[in-house]
Subunit: 359 residues, 2 copies
Amino acid sequence: MDGIDHFWAVVPAGGAGTRLWPLSRQGEPKFLLDLTGVGRSLLQATVDRLQPLVDDRILVVTGQGHRDAVRAQLPTLPASAVLAEPAPRDSMAAIGWAAATIEAIDPDAVMGSFAADHVIGDIEEFGACVRRAAAAARDDWLVTIGIEPTGPATGFGYIEQGPDLADHPGVHTVARFVEKPSAQVAADYVASGRFRWNAGMFVARPRVLLDLLAVHHPEFAAALRRLASAPETLAAVWPTLPRIAIDHAVAEPAADAGRVAVVQAGFEWDDIGDFASLHALLGANGQGMTVLGDRDQVQTVDASGLVVTHPDRLVAVIGLDDVVVVDTGDALLVTTTARAQEVKAVVERLRAEDRAELT
Amino acid sequence: MDGIDHFWAVVPAGGAGTRLWPLSRQGEPKFLLDLTGVGRSLLQATVDRLQPLVDDRILVVTGQGHRDAVRAQLPTLPASAVLAEPAPRDSMAAIGWAAATIEAIDPDAVMGSFAADHVIGDIEEFGACVRRAAAAARDDWLVTIGIEPTGPATGFGYIEQGPDLADHPGVHTVARFVEKPSAQVAADYVASGRFRWNAGMFVARPRVLLDLLAVHHPEFAAALRRLASAPETLAAVWPTLPRIAIDHAVAEPAADAGRVAVVQAGFEWDDIGDFASLHALLGANGQGMTVLGDRDQVQTVDASGLVVTHPDRLVAVIGLDDVVVVDTGDALLVTTTARAQEVKAVVERLRAEDRAELT
């Protein structure tokens, strides 16, 4: 199947993935890692699934410190396909810079933004959803892709659907975006059938996205457009941009204004928020030990959970259920799936103790 | 205080310490390790506590593969103080060889045999017990040192006391030796007040020991004595010696014959049979994490148990109680104090899988 006409993919490749320490590090964040054991990093898998939809129309936005690693992982992309941020300034600056860049190159463009560190199950279904989203975006909607919940997750934000869009079957207006809910609220959302998980995927004409930004942040939108026309001003302009997430800057106010649509997506999706999530993703069945790495390097007696191996070191686990063991060259994590999120506390403590080189 | 006249110490340094894998290895067994974090290996600590009692009359019996390591750890001992076995042939051959060697050198000798991989708390009390044992041994008793039980342990053999020895206050005859008991039997033993732990310490004249051996194993005793007079026959003689423990070859039949005495010992003693035992020994108080190694390399959140660190690797443990984490260069163990003994199963599996280099 051919790419979608004038469709561009934007891949924000940021975020430290602190809750996946010690696997994920500042110097080698989550998106650069092969967390699914398929031989491709999350970034590579993201580009792999987008490329059939965009041909060569793709921009990866990452930190300057990761530019070389990103280019090494994506050797077929031209240098101009990697936008390197001088410093992290949250998602609106990253995606807005890409939007302004695309707007300047291709006035007929529709763009879709897809995080570099998410995992998607059914690639065909993903492609079909993006096509539907792109079609609605051509009609000047800001379109998001809402994931069918598989359970009352409290780790994701939700999207409440409104009425159908007349011209776009399977696409609804968005009544509102809501933040990560409590367990009870999440259960109510899922029971209602009206709510989708917010996977942070946005599809829009760059012009529409920037014009929506300009409604509440006119200076920000203007600065991004000036940056696109004068790239040499990056170092001077970048530090002046507001630190704000695209959700708050554009998506939520646009939803209130009735400008946002959502495509109902049936594919499996995960943002691999922590090792419990990785354990679930890698096909844990509650029995035996899930291994990321070399299964020959793991010996278990009456144990279950997740082991991430380090080359050349054997890991033996005896008599522990739902354990998480993550072995790296200079740091080792031992915890449980239930407590996996708390690894963040260890990372923060190491930074406070001036041992950030381990994080 | 001066050494005990004509008193010789024999230190059998053998045993793989399989239940302390991956810390203890075939190539670097338990007795060569500093398991108490004092900067001395168990072997060195054993020799340290014996030297004041024997001056320079000490023989270490070890495998040929460990001779160089033993000599490196004990640089002040002469080469002749290390007897190197061509192959392991159990404790009677090891201790009997030393006995025959001492008998040939010093006809007035009394010897005491003390394993190289045990830990003893009160060195003064230990020395006093050995003096009492040596005094009884001069009267031709085979003397053992029986440890006051601190609880109904099922991991040790027990010694049942008989009547007092008239001439030796605090020394009793031995009614019998018993193997590791069930929990109920152990509780009965401890409640009776008549039972001591068998720490495998034997004090006797070499002549008495070898003559007691000759009662049931005359060829064995004769072979050991020939070996002492013709050390050049070692390679030929050694493989012909029976594989039998000193307990079965000498101590138990001698007890039946009323020839064995026991000194009541008040010092703390442990054979560090597994990581649970090491955890208890290192002063676990049920709260917080016990560390063998570098405490700065351990980060915990709501966790307790034992961590053995490896230089240059941080260990983070979150939300696990009574956990055991043992980190080495090529193998990592994660288990609980309750399951620590089962590490043996992993070692056996590795050997069965032709990966003995990891054991």
